[in-house]
């Protein structure tokens, strides 16, 4: 799986998600078949369930509101569809690294600046999270826990400090990038070429979903 072109993986998951979400409610056969396909993927079911559970509050809320107005079947179908879509997304995220996804998006022609922004985010979200924790520790070691109005002020200043620091860091990063020869785009170390085996993968991974959608639901 790791050696399959990430574009093929992304598109396969996209097609499968479209197949699942457009399946009309009422007939449970196609959903059973989709579930079989998810099991076939070989990703451990507990992992997928855990990820699906994280989205459960929102899904159950929507499904519950539907239950008040529509039939039991329709409400349950929405919950199943949404749960499966989350599982499919978890499948993609478990088999694809963030750099691979960003590479795939670039190859699918998202604007170059958007690609650069995603690359920077993949690098700096973790770093700035750490920086925020450092600010937290520094504040806690020097002050009493703020209460009431003071709490808002102190938190606002702390957030402002993080923004200022990232602003300044951006200047430094840009200077460093330019000094290393950066002009408009970003060099990529690992590349994929969309080969026959990727096409075979895409077909074999997406076709069953589309087939179930078209054949079993009519």
């Amino acid at each position: 799986m790791r050696s399959i072109d990430p574009r093929a993986r992304l598109i396969a998951v996209l097609l499968a998600t479209i197949a699942v979400t457009t399946t009309p409610a009422g007939n449970w056969m196609p959903f059973a078949a989709y579930f079989g396909l998810i099991l076939l993927s070989g990703v451990p079911l507990p992992f997928l369930l855990r990820r699906a559970l994280a989205a459960a509050p929102f899904i159950l809320l929507a499904s519950g509101m539907l239950l008040l107005r529509e039939s039991w079947t329709i409400a349950a179908a929405v919950a199943v569809k949404a749960g499966m879509a989350v599982a499919l997304l978890a499948l993609l995220s478990a088999t694809t690294t963030l750099p691979e996804l960003i590479w795939a998006l670039r190859k699918l022609h998202v604007p170059e600046s958007f690609h650069l922004m995603l690359t920077l985010m993949s690098r700096y979200i973790g770093l700035l999270s750490e920086e925020y924790k450092r600010l937290d520790r520094a504040r806690e070691s020097r002050t009493a826990r703020p209460l009431g109005r003071a709490a808002y002020k102190i938190h606002a200043r702390q957030l402002g400090t993080l923004l200022l620091r990232s602003w300044d860091r951006a200047e430094r990063i840009h200077t460093a990038m330019v000094s290393r020869g950066f002009e408009k785009s970003w060099p990529v170390r690992r590349t994929f070429r969309f080969a026959v085996r990727d096409a075979v993968f895409l077909l074999s991974a997406a076709l069953p979903w589309v087939a179930i959608r078209l054949l079993l639901t009519s």
Binding site: I18, A54, S113, F114, M121, L128, Y152, H174
Partner: protein, 194 residues
């Protein structure tokens, strides 16, 4: 308030994707690399902040800082938001691939309105900053509620949106606080982009 896949009509999701990527393309034209790096870092900072749950007034909240992003980046905040939503969907499965467009349109509307208020509306800065922070949450919440009502889920989501007004007020207060802090320490930041 990220809509998951499979809940709202697929046609809407498709249309919203069209709007979203057109927006990304339109709002990220003519960008200097230097500006992109700044956007990337601010996006990382707000993303990092949105991961923090911190206690305020007895409960635990987490911020979106959509209004603040609009204040600092103007229309450039739209692609920043799309990037953040994409990463949230991929990393934590918050939202979904198909509903990404809808989520981006909902949040984008709040962000663009916040940016317009900051740049165009008359009035004292703290009030504008509060309004930007407040609407950055309230507008998306209202849009989500409207979409669910139109999709046949009943009006229940308006009740949820009402609950979000508290979070929106909190975000407004913090946005005003952050803007005041930046105004004192680095006013140039607040006068920057279009």
């Amino acid at each position: 308030m990220h809509i998951a896949d499979g809940i709202l009509p697929s046609l809407w999701c498709g249309l919203a994707h069209g709007v979203t990527w057109t927006g990304v393309w339109a709002f990220s034209r003519n960008l200097e690399p230097e500006e992109v790096v700044r956007m990337g870092l601010l996006a990382s900072a707000t993303f990092a902040i949105s991961l923090v749950h911190f206690p305020l007034g007895g409960t635990s909240v987490h911020l979106g800082l959509y209004g603040l992003t609009g204040i600092l980046l103007g229309t450039r905040a739209f692609p920043v938001n799309v990037a953040a939503l994409l990463l949230q969907a991929f990393l934590f499965q918050h939202g979904g691939l198909l509903s990404l467009g809808l989520n981006a349109v909902n949040l984008g509307a709040g962000v663009l309105l916040a940016s317009a208020i900051w740049r165009i509306a008359p009035g004292p800065q703290p009030a504008k900053a509060f309004a930007a922070g407040f609407l950055g949450i309230a507008i998306p919440a209202l849009m989500v509620a409207t979409e669910f009502t139109l999709a046949g889920y009943g009006k229940g989501f308006f009740f949820m949106a009402a609950l979000y007004l508290g979070a929106a007020a909190l975000e407004g207060v913090l946005t005003a606080g952050i803007v005041a802090f930046l105004q004192r320490n680095r006013p140039a930041l607040l006068r920057h982009s279009p």
